[in-house]
């Protein structure tokens, strides 16, 4: 019989009643016996070293502390969009961030001679400082909606599809164990917004913030950026805890969200890619990582930037359904997401599931 492995010998220290064959081998084999003694000795000395006085806990009072804690502050100043409470200031702040990041993405990508229609996705790292810096860009002009988005939560796929202009919700072939089969559907109509740059507003905003922001490039004043997003549909698995009143801590992340949206498109007037890119990257507060990532993009006119909070998640480029996608794994193991684009549709699979499960769902989505 072959010698016992270290792992088996270690287990025998804790559980002498393991397989009889192993025990018999140990009795007869001098080599294994010597290794067992050394492993046993190590195990005992480590147990002594790690010994601590027992902690006495008062569970009811600890529970009261946890229940009354001002919980659920987003750890890095970020919160997943689906966890956003319905409170107006928060939604506005969130919309500003989305708009700013969207502006960056499209600003970098737009080719003034044509339209921006991304065909692939690329992750870019974003810091809290980047988001704050980019939020200021919302003050650089005015936004008008030419098509307002409307959002609906419905209980069946047919209603969702009808609300989202005929876009069919994707079908998940197999849910990972532990994910609730309770499903609700979200639908968003197509939305279109026009951002008009204004030099006057930009300098006023800079003055109001007491900061010196770089002057807008010549000729950009009055330039218009038209961005179209959606329609989009999402399947939301798990019980969405409802926010009671304005209590932010009540909002929670559903176990799994599978969403698809027509890829965003953009057109612009008066502006060149280079001008916008140079300008955006000169805004104070933009991190080196983000600059480097954006400058490394080969052809911005076909790329959809996926902003990834650097401290929050790690991202890797993967192949999903035969195309390039981005997989995000949260460092704490609490959540993951996969994002990809195929045939001008952007897909997202996200939730409090393992990354391998998210990739699996993505690959089997119909």
């Amino acid at each position: 019989m072959a010698h016992l492995t270290d792992g088996t010998l270690r287990r025998m220290v804790d559980d002498p009643d393991v397989a009889r064959g192993d025990r018999a081998h140990l009795e007869e084999c001098a080599d294994c016996k010597a290794r067992f003694q050394s492993i046993d000795g190590d195990a005992r000395s480590i147990a002594t070293l790690l010994a601590v006085p027992e902690a006495q806990v008062d569970v009811p009072s600890a529970f009261r502390r946890v229940s009354s804690a001002p919980a659920a502050q987003p750890r890095f100043g970020f919160r997943w969009p689906v966890a956003a409470p319905r409170s107006r200031p928060f939604v506005l702040a969130f919309a500003a961030v989305i708009a700013a990041v969207g502006l960056l993405a499209t600003g970098v990508a737009v080719n003034f001679r044509g339209n921006w229609t991304p065909t692939t996705v690329t992750p870019v790292p974003v810091t809290v400082a980047d988001v704050q810096a980019l939020s200021q860009l919302a003050d650089y002009g005015s936004v008008t909606w030419t098509k307002q988005p409307t959002l609906q939560i419905v209980t069946n796929p047919a209603d969702a599809s009808a609300a989202a202009g005929g876009l069919q919700p994707p079908t998940v072939s197999k849910l990972p164990s532990g994910v609730s089969t309770t499903v609700t559907y979200g639908a968003m109509t197509q939305a279109q917004a026009v951002f008009t740059f204004s030099s006057d507003k930009a300098s006023a905003a800079a003055a109001a913030h007491g900061k010196t922001l770089p002057a807008l490039p010549k000729g950009i004043d009055g330039a218009q950026l038209t961005v179209t997003v959606g329609p989009a549909v999402a399947e939301i698995f798990g019980n969405l805890k409802q926010a009671s009143g304005s209590d932010v801590s009540e909002a929670s992340l559903p176990q799994l969200v599978v969403a698809e949206s027509s890829a965003p498109t953009a057109t612009s007037t008066q502006v060149t890619v280079k001008q916008i890119e140079d300008y955006l990257l000169s805004v104070p507060g933009i991190s080196k990582e983000l600059k480097a990532a954006i400058q490394a993009i080969g052809d911005p006119s076909t790329t959809l930037l996926i902003p990834i909070p650097v401290q929050y998640a790690t991202s890797t480029t993967i192949t999903v359904q035969g195309v390039k996608g981005v997989a995000l794994g949260d460092n704490t193991g609490v959540g993951s997401a996969v994002i990809w684009e195929k045939n001008h549709v952007v897909y997202v699979v996200a939730g409090s599931i393992k990354q391998s499960d998210a990739i699996n769902i993505a690959n089997n989505l119909k």
């Binding site: 492995t5 792992g7 010998l9 287990r11 601590v52 704490t332």
Partner: protein
């Protein structure tokens, strides 16, 4: 039942499930953190942080809840141990507990020094071996350790053995410095 009432019922039963989970797992989670930090107060801090994090993102009825909490307790406590926030002074001040009071001052000093050395060594280990040691030392069975770390039960003996060898090496290195 209308939709609003149904939501309220769902929310209150989720709260009840969370309280039940807290009651059954809190002592174990503190025990794991205390094993790392040798400091009951800080261990309770870690445990509460872990429960709040869990509650924010997961359903208390999830099958994986105990395993998640235990792993998070080990990793959060180990992160604190590695972090600069933790000051040596606090570490030494808090290790004295009921169980140590029978020791004379000389023995007490030795126990404290050993604990300091072993915690410094633990902080230098890679996250997985450190977590294996802490979870097993906190009384988790091989099956529970396997669940918490998402590994096969057959791997636990091997992981444990390697982790013990690594810790012993680190402790020796710490002592000889």
């Amino acid at each position: 039942m209308n939709l609003g009432a149904r939501r309220m019922t769902a929310a209150s039963s989720e709260e009840a499930a969370f309280e039940a989970l807290f009651t059954s797992e809190y002592a174990r989670v503190v025990c794991i953190a205390n094993r790392v930090l040798a400091d009951t107060h800080e261990a309770e801090d870690v445990a509460q942080e872990v429960f709040i994090d869990f509650h924010r993102l997961h359903s208390a009825r999830a099958d994986y809840a105990p395993a998640w909490l235990r792993r998070a307790a080990a990793h959060t406590a180990l992160n604190r141990l590695r972090g600069s926030r933790r000051r040596q002074k606090r570490e030494v001040a808090h290790v004295l507990r009921e169980g140590d009071r029978t020791l004379d001052p000389q023995q007490q000093a030795e126990v404290e020094e050993d604990r300091r050395l072993v915690r410094a060594a633990l902080a230098r280990l890679a996250p997985k071996p450190a977590a294996v040691l802490v979870l097993r030392a906190s009384g988790l069975s091989y099956a529970e350790v396997a669940q918490a770390l998402g590994v096969g039960i057959g791997q636990v003996g091997t992981l444990l053995r390697r982790a013990e060898a690594a810790l012993r090496k680190e402790v020796t290195r710490g002592t000889s410095n």
